[in-house]
């Protein structure tokens, strides 16, 4: 039975999630040097184009069509049979295609997250091939494990409300792998490049926070109390995390920074994503506070110590935040919030924590292996990295023959 309120809510949520990819483009675009911002914007927007097509042609079928535990079937290729009647296994009150397009926006933003790791040095052609292969071979299967009918995470009882494992951990791991494989940027030994436009980073964060209500509350797939819970805990976690990061900086570095505060906000949004439909608002405060401690440690201690050049801290914020969020779901989940969910460790069910840990580990292992293989294959076929001269001149001019900013007029 189609419910018009639910349908309107999910369609609007899909539009909100769509906006997150342009938001991410500005979040990342502000962080790079001015010679590379168009490269970032282009990569994000071409993903919007490419994965939108991939999704309706075969991605949705591989992710969500009934299949085996590992991957969906091919019966929904080209949206064959995906119509305007509800498909009750996913959402009983909205047209099947509304669910499809909502999920498509998740498929788009996930590979876009990885961009931050290899920013400022990847060849555009190689990036494009890498992205298509990664979406097909990593995103689609992991999406099926978590949310697809018969997916093995789902059958195991794993809780992932809006995509902590499938979106943030899988992309965050791929980010670390690609950052290590492509190597450090040139001439950054003595000084790390500083962000060229902090206001863009802040603008991007504002739009991400806004879009994230669609990401998390929309994952209830109905305009109901569960959606309200997800909306409230999402806002609360983001707020707690942003505040915590600012306080840590204040204590440790002497001054709170806007860049640190928005990094905390994004980390808080990441961490609450898998938990949004299962935890209470007080738990969300704790989840938000801890994620900033963890991610601050990752970007300010682990990264400099290990010397990998994850340019825009995709691993430090998305992967570490995603891991914490998935595990925290196993700690703080409560049937009092969502009877269809499960209780976590702190509510007397240690088994849920173990299930969450298994899903985290499996996602990490699978994403590492596949990302390495895909990277190596594309590197052999067309070469991943731009030449040193192209890197120094910037990707805007060398990959796209454009400049973002002019000096005269």
């Amino acid at each position: 039975m189609i419910n018009s309120g639910d349908t309107a809510f999910v369609l609007f949520s899909a539009a909100l999630v769509m906006l997150m990819t342009p938001a991410l483009a500005f979040f990342y675009g502000g962080m790079v040097r001015r010679k590379n911002i168009l490269g970032i914007l282009m990569q994000c927007f071409i993903i919007l184009c490419v994965i939108s097509i991939e999704w309706v042609v075969y991605g949705y079928s591989l992710s969500f069509a009934p299949g085996n535990g590992f991957i969906g079937g091919l019966q929904w290729l080209g949206l064959n049979g995906v119509g305007f009647e509800p498909y009750a296994d996913y959402a009983a009150t909205i047209p099947h295609q509304a669910f499809m397009i909502y999920q498509g926006m998740f498929a788009i933003i996930t590979p876009a997250l990885i961009i931050g790791a290899f920013a400022e040095r990847m060849k555009f052609s190689a990036f494009l091939l890498f992205t298509i292969l990664w979406a097909t071979l990593v995103y689609n299967p992991v999406c099926h494990w978590v949310w697809g009918v018969g997916g093995w995470f789902k059958n195991m009882g794993a809780l992932d409300f809006a995509g902590g494992t499938v979106v943030h951990i899988s992309a965050g791991v791929a980010a670390l792998v690609t950052a290590i494989l492509i190597g450090r940027r040139k001439n950054i030994e003595h000084s790390t490049p500083t962000p060229h436009n902090l206001p863009f980073i802040v603008l991007g964060t504002g739009l991400l926070w806004f879009g994230w209500f669609g990401f998390n509350a929309g994952s209830a797939l109905a305009a109901n109390g569960l959606a309200v819970n997800a909306f409230v805990v999402t806002n609360t976690s983001a707020a707690a995390a942003g505040l915590t990061w600012a306080i840590i900086e204040w204590l440790k570095n002497g001054k709170p920074t806007i860049f640190g505060t928005v990094s905390g906000i994004v980390a808080g949004l990441v961490a609450i994503t898998p938990a949004a439909g299962f935890v209470s608002v007080m738990s969300a405060i704790v989840i938000g506070m801890f994620v900033s401690v963890i991610c601050f440690f990752a970007v300010s201690v682990i990264k400099p110590a290990l010397k990998y050049d994850d340019s825009l801290d995709v691993f430090g914020v998305h992967c570490m935040g995603g891991i914490w969020g998935a595990l925290a779901t196993g700690l703080f989940a409560s049937k009092a919030v969502n009877p269809a969910g499960a209780d976590g460790l702190f509510f007397g069910n240690p088994k849920q924590f173990m299930v969450q840990a298994v899903t985290v580990l499996a996602t990490i292992v699978y994403s590492v292996i596949l990302t390495v293989i895909i990277y190596k294959v594309v590197d052999l076929m067309i070469g991943m990295r731009v030449t040193e001269k192209e890197e120094l001149m910037g990707l805007d001019l060398t990959q796209h023959h454009e400049r973002a900013y002019t000096i005269l007029e």
Binding site: T192, T194, P195, K252, N253, T257, G260, S263, V299
Partner: protein, 113 residues
């Protein structure tokens, strides 16, 4: 004729302009530049990564004057920009060979004022 080039703190520009106007010096070119002297730059922090020795924003003034205006100009710039701390800046005075007012083709000291 002299060309006076001064590098000053950006936040002192308004005071310097004020002093110059008081001394009847109205011709001035201003640009934003980067640099540092004994101050040795600033430390900026991005996601806890400390960037020391970054170039500082400074203001560069260029003023062409006739010889009888040189001291007045130096005094005005100095009065407007001095705080007594490192980073106040410098004033350079260079000989100026020629000056042409494009509108009238006037040359030399006539053209400056």
């Amino acid at each position: 004729m002299k060309l006076i080039i001064a590098i000053i703190q950006p936040y002192k520009l308004e005071e310097v302009k004020e002093e110059l106007y008081k001394s009847d010096i109205n011709l001035i070119t201003v640009s934003e530049v980067l640099g540092h002297g004994r101050q040795k730059g600033v430390t900026e922090v991005y996601r806890s990564a400390r960037e020391t020795g970054n170039l500082l924003r400074k203001i560069r003034l260029e003023i062409a004057v006739n010889d009888n205006f040189v001291e007045k100009t130096i005094k005005a710039i100095s009065k407007g920009s001095k705080t007594g701390e490192t980073g106040d800046g410098k004033i350079f005075v260079l000989d100026l060979n020629e000056c042409v007012r494009i509108r009238t083709d006037e040359r030399g000291p006539e053209a400056i004022g």
